[in-house]
Symmetry: C2
Subunit: 194 residues, 2 copies
């Protein structure tokens, strides 16, 4: 056997990425072999190299795609009052991250498995995202509606708090995402209140 019936790069390509995302998230980049990914797709290991030059690039592409999707999706409403922008940000972060737990997990856990160049590029994207939140906090601080000592610290604290939800939240569990979102917004709102 060589090429199999029904095989097509438009089908196999995405499936490779999906399998890698799921398996990396579950077992960790270093613990998942190319053969394991191939087996999940239903293909031999060699075939993966039609879709990625190597394992490292496969990881990097997954992380970069996630970060770019995130930056594309983050709402930009520069005119609205800071408190409304902050609430929108909180709700966006929770819902966006709840929708793609595997990608989020990888983006936060596999940084150390990136080659230095790749690491720097992902870190830059993450900083871009943090800057979106920090800008809101600074505007609110300037306007006197927020009382925060150090916007950078508060930015990191809020993001850590929100992203932590992904370690326990499961859709269909005790609480709906709306309920979780309401409670986190409550905490954030009070924490930065003047």
């Amino acid at each position: 056997m060589a090429r199999t019936t029904g095989s097509h790069s438009d089908i196999t390509g995405p499936r490779v990425r999906e399998a890698a995302l799921r398996l990396f998230a579950k077992g960790g980049y270093a613990a998942v072999s190319m053969r394991a990914i191939a087996a999940d797709v239903g293909v031999q290991a060699g075939a993966l190299y039609n879709y990625t030059p190597d394992k490292q690039t496969l990881l990097f592409d997954l992380m970069q795609s996630h970060m770019m999707d995130l930056l594309d999706a983050v709402p930009d409403q520069a005119d609205a009052p800071p408190e409304e922008r902050l609430r929108t940000f909180v709700e966006f972060h929770l819902s966006f991250h709840a929708d793609r737990p595997d990608a989020v997990f990888i983006a936060y856990m596999e940084l150390r498995n990136l080659a230095p160049d790749n690491f720097a590029r992902i870190e830059a994207l993450r900083r871009d995202y943090e800057d979106r939140l920090e800008a809101i906090l600074r505007d609110g601080q300037k306007a006197g509606v927020f009382e925060v000592a150090d916007t950078k610290i508060v930015t990191l604290a809020i993001i850590a708090m929100l992203t932590g939800v992904n370690t326990w939240f499961r859709s269909g569990g005790r609480l709906s995402l709306d309920e979780v979102s309401r409670q986190y917004w409550d905490m954030v709102r009070k924490a930065v209140a003047a």
Copy 2:
């Protein structure tokens, strides 16, 4: 050569654990070989098996030690008012975790590399720790000094926020631990305030 001059289990044993802790934290459990740990200690790979039955147990022992140290150290002051207990908890968490970044990193990142039995035991210890904080929140809620919708959520949110500090805080950086602690307490205090 066989046994080397000056070799002694009281010396090599701790050094194996220290090397494993540092290397696991830097590179990840799966990516660090027993030979790499041995080289760091200055010994051949086979010698490690005088100190651990296998690699998995080495990881588990490191995580268990960390969690037990944490539970031993967490202050217990059941009589004090909830707000004071909460402030003490926040300060304790930040200072304890700032002192051992490698152990913290491993305890949060290598859970998926634990065998199921080991995982369950570490998770139980983590829950114990979370329960310490939740008890404070519940007492404050009952006393009417805290206003929190769901103590479990607030517990996880606070711990995620505090532990997130470890991703960026470096002693000797822009901010002292005291200053960081002050700001986090400020946020936590306001977030749970009635």
